[in-house]
Symmetry: C2
Subunit: 243 residues, 2 copies
Amino acid sequence: MLSSLRIELEGEIEKSRNDLLGSLFQGFIMKNIYKGYADILHMSTLHPYSQYVTRVDNKIIWTLNTLNIEAKENIADKIKQIEKVNIKYREKEYKITSIKEENISYKDLVKENYLRDGKRILKVKFLTPTSFKQDGRYVLFPSIRLIFQSLMMKFDKASTDMEVFSKDILETFENNIEICGYKLRSTAFHLDGTKVPAFIGEITVNIKGPKQLVNFANMLIAFGTYSGVGIKTGIGMGGIAFE
Amino acid sequence: MLSSLRIELEGEIEKSRNDLLGSLFQGFIMKNIYKGYADILHMSTLHPYSQYVTRVDNKIIWTLNTLNIEAKENIADKIKQIEKVNIKYREKEYKITSIKEENISYKDLVKENYLRDGKRILKVKFLTPTSFKQDGRYVLFPSIRLIFQSLMMKFDKASTDMEVFSKDILETFENNIEICGYKLRSTAFHLDGTKVPAFIGEITVNIKGPKQLVNFANMLIAFGTYSGVGIKTGIGMGGIAFE
C-alpha cells in the first residue's frame, strides 16, 4: 500500500531553507517512532518512506509518504497523532494545522494505469532538490535513464510481489522517451554541514512507442510521487509531482 | 582578425521574438553586401560571421561578429555605413543609434589568454537560443563535449593558420572540465515557419587540470563570444558571453 500525508504546518521558516527542514523532520520522525522499527530502518537499504518540505502559497507543506503497510503503521499513523513538530534547530516549533491523507494499493496503482490511455506528454516537477549518483559522482542534470532506473529500483524494493526493473526495459525507455522541454537550475541540498549538488525545476517528457510502454511509464511516475526520485528521498530530496 | 559590432537599434520589437529578428537581419546582411561575396557565403560551409539580437535594458542590441578580415571588410564595414535597418517583416524599420566596435587579432587573442592565469571558474551565458546537432538529432542540454567540440571546430575553420581540434584534446577537456552549476530552460528558435529546439540560460564551468588547459579553455570561450556556439550562429542562435 502507498500512503501519502500532506501535512500543513504553521510556523516560521527561513527562506529557501526548506532543505534544512527535510533533514530535521527526518530526525523528528526517528525520535517519534517505535525504536525497534527505527533501528530496522537504519540498518536496511530499503527506505519504505519519503518525505519533503515545500512551500505552497506561503504555507509550509510537509509531505510524508510511506511505501508499504508496515511503514504506514509505524511512521505515518504515528505522526498523524502528533499536534506539534518540535525541531531542535533554534528551538523551532511547527503546529500541524491540517492533514490530508491519500492511500492507494499497488494493485489499484497498476490497474488505474493500465486500464486507461496514459498521457504521452507529461510534465514532471522536481519539487525539492533532486540528484543522482553515477560512478561515485553526483549528476546535476536529469536524464530518462537516471529517472526511470531510480523509479524502477525503488518500485522493486518497495512492492514485495512485483519486479519491473530490467536492463532491456530501461533501454526501451531510453529509446522511446525523451525530455522535450525543461526549466531547471542547479542547487544544493544542505545536509550535516555539507552540500549535496542537486537540481530543481521541471521537465516535459514525450513518450513514444506502444501503449503498454506509455502506461508503464505513467505508472512509474505516479509511483514516484510517493517514492521520490534519485538519492536521499528520506531526508527531503527528490520530491516530484506531475501533470 | 576577430571583429565585433555592437549596434544599438531604435524600433519596436515583439516581446520574446528576438529570434525572428535574427533571421531577418541575416536577410538584411545578404541584401546589403557585395553579391559576389554573398554567393561565396552561400556556397561555403565556412561561416566567417555570427550575429544575434538581444535586449539589454529595453534596448535592442544587434551584435554582428566577423571572424576574419575578409568578412570584416565585406560584412561589418558595409553594415557600419548604414543608418537604418529595413526589415521586410511587417515593414519594420530600425534606426541605428550607436555602433561600438571591437577588434582583436588571433595572435593577440592567443597571447592575451596564455600570458595570464585563466579563470578556473567561468560563467557562460547563452544569450540567444542555442542548440547542437548530434546523430541527426537536436540536443537540448549543453555538455562540455558539445560546447568545446563546437568551439574548436569553429576556431579551426575561422583562423587560417592554427588547428586546435583533436579527439585527444576534446577528451582531456571532458575529463577536466565540468558543469558545476546552471540555470537553463528549453526554448525554440523560429526559423522559416519551423521551430528549432534549443536552450537558453547560463552554466558555470569548473576547469581543473594544468594551467595550459585552463588558458586554452578560456581562449576558446573568448573566441566563442565572436563565433557563437552550436548550430545556426549566422542567423541568431548560439550567442554567448562569459564572466
